[in-house]
């Protein structure tokens, strides 16, 4: 189990997180949702050991990550950022290979290379393997990031808005890959999500953050309700269950009754 207990985080005196409890079991997918600036990314980075929480601790399989070497943590947890900044030309292959870095010192072993080749093939990236990263579309780049996260071969994955900037199909494909991986290989996944519908569809549990605290946590249908969405996002909505999927239909900003009325189709 990966657990974060009583996480507090302050950024130059400004409280971002206060007393967050989060955990994920193997083969479980947990989504963190909440409006912009609520601390989703900060929480993920605290769990990944990239940021040091002002209070609280993170444990992997009962072991405090503060007692672990950086490289040891990298063999347990994978953090996939929203994007990677590129200043210099790097090929897709080299980028994905960098995810194996916790396992080799100077020269990647035969096994490392084979692992990378297999993931490239599985994710259908073979055509792009020798291209430079800056020649890729947003969707392709995101796939490469996921491939890089996969070759790290850890028991827990932390994904920061993995479907940013992707079209409908790519969003579905990417999240399905994640879901299959979680169930098939018993990997625990925590991901920050903006899209409530997709979060509900692909998660076992949802954590809704509000003002740096956990507002609600539980099964998707329990957490995602019109009342909570109004309170947290300030948006009036209807939550519908359709074809077995939860669906949030957004109506208008809360407290603005008359604006953004639905377009009336005039009868002829």
């Amino acid at each position: 189990m990966l657990e974060a207990r009583q996480i507090f985080f302050e950024y130059s005196g400004h409280k971002v997180l206060s007393g967050i409890e989060a955990s994920v079991e193997k083969a479980e997918v947990v989504s963190i949702v909440g409006p912009n600036g609520v601390g989703k990314t900060t929480l993920l980075k605290c769990i990944a050991g990239i940021l040091k929480p002002t209070r609280g601790y993170v444990r992997v399989e009962g072991k405090d990550i503060r007692d672990m070497a950086r490289r040891g943590i990298a063999k347990q947890l994978t953090y996939m950022p929203q994007s990677l900044p590129f200043r210099f030309p790097v090929t897709v292959f080299d980028t994905i290979l960098s995810g194996r870095r916790p396992y080799f010192a100077w020269r990647p072993s035969r096994k490392d290379l084979e692992r990378v080749e297999r993931v490239i093939e599985e994710m259908g990236l073979s055509d792009l393997a020798m291209r430079d990263m800056d020649q890729l579309s947003g969707g392709q780049a995101q796939k490469v990031l996921l491939a890089r996260a996969l070759v790290q071969d850890t028991r827990y994955l932390l994904l920061d808005e993995p479907n940013t900037g992707l079209d409908l199909r790519h969003q579905l494909e990417l999240l399905e890959t994640v879901a299959v991986l979680a169930k098939g290989k018993g990997i625990g996944v925590i991901m920050a999500m903006h899209d409530l519908n997709l979060a509900a569809r692909f998660s076992d549990r949802i954590m809704m953050l509000h003002q740096g605290r956990i507002f609600s946590t539980g099964a998707p249908a329990e957490v995602i309700t019109a009342d909570r969405i109004r309170e947290v996002y300030g948006v009036e909505s209807v939550v519908i269950c359709n074809n077995g999927y939860l669906h949030v239909q957004v109506l208008r900003c809360a407290g603005e009754e008359n604006r953004n009325r639905p377009v009336q189709t005039r009868a002829r």
């Binding site: 953090y79 210099f88 980028t95 916790p102 393997a129 800056d134």
Partner: protein
Amino acid sequence: MKADCKAVCRGCDDHTCLRANLTVGQAVHRQVGRRTLFLVLMFLLMLGTMAVGLCVGASGMDPGDVLVSLVKDTGRNHSIVWMLRLPRILMAVLVGFGLGLAGSVFQVILRNPLASPFTLGVGSAAGFGAVTVIIFWGSGCHLHRVAGGAFLFSLLSAAVMIAVAKMKRASSETIILTGIALMFLFSALTSLFQYMGTMQQVYEIVFWFFGSLSRAGWAEIGVAAAMILSPLPLLLRSAWDFNLLAYGDESALALGVNPDRLRMWGVTAASLITAGCICFTGVIGFVGLVAPHITRMIIGNDHRFLLPGSGLVGAVILVTADIGGRTLWAPQVIPIGIVTSFIGVPFFVFLLMKRTREYW
């Protein structure tokens, strides 16, 4: 798993271009082979230019004479080869290698293509150190004092840069801006001293700023070699850490590398190398900026190959420039700093125009 040739070729250098239908594994294998080949070729090219450099000079020896003088004591020719030409060429190789290496380290740890020993103030600090010695010890003072001054001040500027970065967080922006501020400070101080100095002193200052390879003897070469080559094994060992740093600090952290610590000792090592390069030779700046770029354009950004590659390219550029400086206007010798820029700038602009990858 066939690599799509057309897609790959769209923006390719010839080393990424897969004409045949290769599997990903084969393509990668081939790429590593090309990168290794590049290093070997550059090393041979370096030896070649060194040989040419040995045979070229005002005394008009032919290659046979040079070869004989290398192994046998032939009087005048022997001392020309051993006391003048060989030290000069070895110094060029060392300094070129060091500046190229330091430049590539600065560029990756600061994640900035404009970074180099001279854009970061280490060079102008060294210049100021030399100027201070010339002004206060009077003209005609010993080479070692000037070198010592240059060395001390370049380390001082690096120390200030590192201290500021330590007090804040060691972000690349902090280091770059501090470096640039220091550069302006030391340039201003140098100008002030030139303004105050006598004719003779100003003449010596200007001469020092031209850069020269002929000041060094064997002892100086030993000192420079120690400073330039000693950090090399450690730098090469961290090659993969540098690779990760190229993807940003957080990403490096998440893969088990501490970026702040890497940057701290990277700046220290690169500054030490720079100090070793310029204290005996003066300002030969351009190589440190260009050699890493040329290498990167050809073999990409894997620092296991880029670090030694930039060094070798730097060495080749500097030896070539030295040969040019000694022959173009013989028997007049054009200062090495000037020739480097004359040869390097057009070549660099040519490469910039020709390159197919856009990356900054």
